[in-house]
Every structure is written in structure tokens, then in C-alpha cells.
């Protein structure tokens, strides 16, 4: 277990610099195995992302990577290019479950959880079913049914109303954290703010809501994020984009027993949704707002900002 395993010459094994919660260290004293990195779906983008499971607690952690151009590590007597810093932070598994519940909701019926959380691309998603107190968690976002005559299994169905209520609570508790952490969420500070009578401008609260909404939106699909923004009554743009009503009318006009097969209909529908959601009303509103002081999670971790540091 020597620090910095030397391979003598040439490239050596990749080293990852991690920050993890301290209690993982204590938990590790009582376990032999059960800590593992797996690839699961990112509930916002639908792409793959790395998570850490502790099967003994059990608990789910999200892995985020800090990455900035032109950085490297010296790790004891070695050099590691890239300068990446990995963070493992606890993640609410409900965001991931929600991804599957929403997907399953297209069938529009109550289903047992093990039929909902299925994924050909990310088969490790079955590990989610091992997390504790799932039933309690699911109450926030689903309607449930039990059929005691057949089995004791619970059947779940996604509820948008409940989910929006749950997300509102999430936004509120994130806002509180933003305030206690003194995160700068507002637009540019104007000098008049220092001289006028009221030190706290009225729209400051709104900045916090919008910022918190942005943070939560990194964990939910785009459509739900838009619904949440409406639910929170985030300002609509003055000239809102008229939703193309023609398509919707057409769809409802068609007989239920459409000639096309159902899957075809589904993909078609998805495509139009995607097109429409390229830039939604809320996003357009945001685009008009001065965002100079705003940061999203990406600003911490992405490498958008290229600092002008000469090659050394």
C-alpha cells in the first residue's frame, strides 16, 4: 500500500484524486466489500454517469469531476496530468427512480417497482432496488396500490402533481442552503443598492428561486424542469412562444385505434416534444436576464472558462 506505486519507467497507473464524506472512512472499518463505482443513467441528460454505491449502509453517491484547462497534480513523487478532482456526494435516489417512473408512465398503468426500474443500457440500475426505505421515498412522487388478495406487492404510478410538490420542497431547502452558504446568486450588484434606503431589493428572493430551480433542474428531465418553473411561477416571457396547437388537435382527432402501431406513434410523439423543448418559454426568459453573476453546477466542474495562462 505504498503511496505512489512506481512502475520504474514510462507511464504508470492512473491516479484519481477524490474527496469523499468522512463517514465512508468509518463505515469502511466494518465492511469487507460492497463499495463500488457503477455507471447509471444521468436523470437529466439520459446519458451515462458514474455513481458510487455503498451496499452496506446502503447509500448512493454521485460523482462529480472538477476539471479546468492547464492543470496537473504532483502526487508525492509522481506527476498526474489533467489536474482532475473527483467529488463523491450523497445523492437522493429518488431523482434516478423518477427517471424510470416517468419512462414507465407512458404505459399509463400501475406497475411493481422491479418492472419499472429496468434498463438494457445500464443494467446496474437494479442496485437501486436495494436502497432502504424506497416505499417511503416513492410516496413523494407516485400513487400506489396494493392488492392483498393476490400478493403483498405494491404497484406504483408516476404522479406529476405529487412530484411537483416534492420538487418545490427541494427548491426551498436548496434556497435555504444557498443563503447560509452565501452563494452569490444575484445579477450584477448596482452601486445604488449601497445608497438607497432599502438594502434588500425585492427581486433578490426571485434570484434565489431561479438559481435553486437551476440546480434541481440538473437532476430532472427538461420537460419536468419547465413544468416546475411554471409551478413555481417563475416569470414568463412577455412574448411567449405560441405552442403549435395544430399537432395536438390532430392527435386527439385521430381515432384511438390508430392504424399506425403504437411504438411508431410513441417515437413520433417524442420527436416533436424534443423539437419543441429546444428552447422553452422559461429558458427564453432566462436568456434575457442578466446572468453575469449566476453559476450553475457546470460552472464549478466544466471547463468552459479558459484562463489565459501561458504554457510553462
Amino acid at each position: 500500500m505504498a503511496a505512489g506505486v512506481d512502475c520504474g519507467e514510462g507511464a504508470s497507473a492512473r491516479q484519481h484524486v477524490f474527496l469523499v464524506p468522512e463517514y465512508l472512512k468509518d463505515a469502511s472499518k466494518k465492511m469487507k466489500s460492497g463499495l463500488m463505482f457503477v455507471k447509471l443513467v444521468n436523470p437529466c441528460s439520459g446519458e451515462g454517469a458514474i455513481y458510487l454505491f455503498n451496499m452496506c449502509l446502503p447509500q448512493l453517491f454521485e460523482i462529480k469531476v472538477f476539471k479546468e484547462k492547464n492543470h496537473s497534480w504532483f502526487i508525492n513523487e509522481s506527476v498526474q496530468s489533467g489536474g482532475l478532482l473527483h467529488f463523491a456526494t450523497p445523492m437522493d435516489p429518488l431523482f434516478l427512480l423518477l427517471h424510470y417512473l416517468i419512462k414507465a408512465d407512458r404505459e399509463g398503468k400501475f406497475q411493481p417497482l422491479d418492472q419499472v426500474v429496468m434498463d438494457d443500457v445500464f443494467p446496474n440500475c437494479i442496485l437501486l432496488l436495494k436502497l432502504p426505505e424506497l416505499e417511503k421515498l416513492l410516496r413523494h412522487v407516485t400513487e400506489e396500490k396494493v392488492n392483498p388478495e393476490i400478493d403483498k406487492k405494491k404497484y406504483y404510478k408516476y404522479s406529476k402533481e405529487k412530484t411537483l410538490k416534492w420538487l418545490e420542497k427541494k427548491v426551498n431547502q436548496t434556497m435555504a442552503a444557498l443563503k447560509t452558504n452565501n452563494v452569490n446568486v444575484g445579477a450584477r450588484v448596482q452601486s445604488t443598492a449601497f445608497f438607497s434606503g432599502d438594502p434588500v431589493s425585492s427581486d433578490k428572493e426571485e434570484d434565489y428561486i431561479r438559481y435553486a430551480h437551476g440546480l434541481i433542474s440538473d437532476y430532472i428531465p427538461k420537460e419536468l424542469s419547465d413544468d416546475l418553473s411554471k409551478y413555481l411561477k417563475l416569470p414568463e416571457p412577455p412574448a411567449s412562444v405560441p405552442n403549435p396547437p395544430s399537432k395536438k388537435v390532430k392527435l386527439s382527432d385521430e381515432p384511438v385505434e390508430a392504424k399506425e402501431d403504437y411504438t411508431k406513434f410513441n417515437t413520433k410523439d417524442l420527436k416533436t416534444v424534443k423539437k419543441n423543448s429546444k428552447m422553452t418559454a422559461a429558458q427564453k426568459a432566462l436568456a434575457k436576464v442578466d446572468k453575469s453573476g449566476m453559476k450553475s453546477i457546470d460552472s464549478f466542474f466544466g471547463a468552459k472558462h479558459v484562463k489565459k495562462i501561458g504554457k510553462i
Binding site: 491516479q15 466494518k30 455507471k39
Partner: protein
């Protein structure tokens, strides 16, 4: 953790050996404001560390003839830093685990129950912590990276993440 093995990665699990988290040796870490394009041993203790001086505004050193200024950055409270390195020869290690399973039956003083089913498969890989740290030295070119430096922003992420992912009360 990334791999070019294509499909396999989405099924694969990379097991982190808990035993390596217990008491790994402390490590000296420096985050440099430049990209060195190789991963390999380097005589840091011969050239870099002995040249660090305490200047009027922070630590001073030079690397490849350029002047660097830096300061110690402490890992936020509640967190611990690890350097992790992937192990090689996973097949052997995977088999070793079956015998470990047998021992488990005898060791009843174990406080946490091991997950019942086999979590480790043949194609899985293993990673272990090789060292730990509670602070690192952050370097900037000619000046210390200011309060707006993105690394510092990233270090506030865990406290924000805690709020985003905390359970909400039921109605």
C-alpha cells in the same frame, strides 16, 4: 475509471476496497497551473519541494523557469481526500473473494451484514486508495489563485449538494 472497452463498462462495477480507506499513508499534493502531459514517477522531492519558500504573499516556487505562487487549501470539514489507483490482475482478485466469503460465516462479530448476493463478477475491476490527504497546495502562475478561482468554487459544492439531496419532510 474510464475505459475504452466499449459496452462492457456499462455492466462493469469497479469495486473500491474498503480496507484501503482505513489508514492510508498521508500524501503531499500540489495542484499546478499547467498541464504536464504524462502520468509517471517524477523526482518532486529532489527538484520541487526543496525549492518552496515562504514569501511575503504566500508560498513561492518555480517550475520550468516560471514563478509560481501558492497556498495551502484545506479539505472542507466532513470530507476526506484519497488518492485512488486501479489494481491490475482482476481475475485473481475476483477468485480470492470466494474464500473470503467462507470466512465470513465464521466471523460473527461483524457489525454490518454483508450483502447476501455476489456483487463481484469476473469482469469487474478493483480500485484502492493508495494515500490520503486533508489539504493540498494550490499554485497559480505569478499570483495566488484568488477567491474566484474555480477550484475554490468546486470545494463549496458538497455543502450545496447536501441540501439538494436531503430528504424532504412528508406532508
Amino acid at each position: 475509471m474510464e475505459s475504452s472497452d466499449g459496452e462492457a463498462i456499462d455492466k462493469r462495477r469497479v469495486h473500491l476496497r474498503p480496507v484501503t480507506l482505513r489508514d492510508p499513508a498521508p500524501v503531499l499534493l500540489h495542484l499546478l497551473p499547467c498541464e504536464v502531459l504524462v502520468n509517471r514517477p517524477a523526482p518532486v522531492g529532489l527538484f520541487f519541494t526543496p525549492a518552496i519558500r515562504q514569501g511575503p504573499d504566500g508560498l513561492e516556487v518555480s517550475f520550468r523557469g516560471r514563478s509560481l505562487r501558492g497556498e495551502e487549501v484545506v479539505v472542507p470539514p466532513g470530507l476526506v481526500g484519497y488518492v485512488m489507483t486501479e489494481e491490475k490482475g482482476e481475475v485473481l482478485l475476483g477468485k480470492q473473494d470466494f474464500s473470503e466469503g467462507l470466512q465470513d460465516d465464521e466471523q460473527e462479530e461483524q457489525e454490518l451484514v454483508e450483502p447476501p448476493e455476489a456483487l463481484e463478477r469476473d469482469f469487474d475491476r478493483f480500485i484502492g486508495a493508495t494515500a490520503s490527504f486533508s489539504s493540498f497546495t494550490l499554485w497559480g502562475l505569478e499570483t495566488i489563485p484568488g477567491p474566484d478561482a474555480r477550484v475554490r468554487g468546486a470545494l463549496t459544492w458538497p455543502s450545496l449538494a447536501a441540501a439538494i439531496h436531503a430528504q424532504v419532510p412528508e406532508d
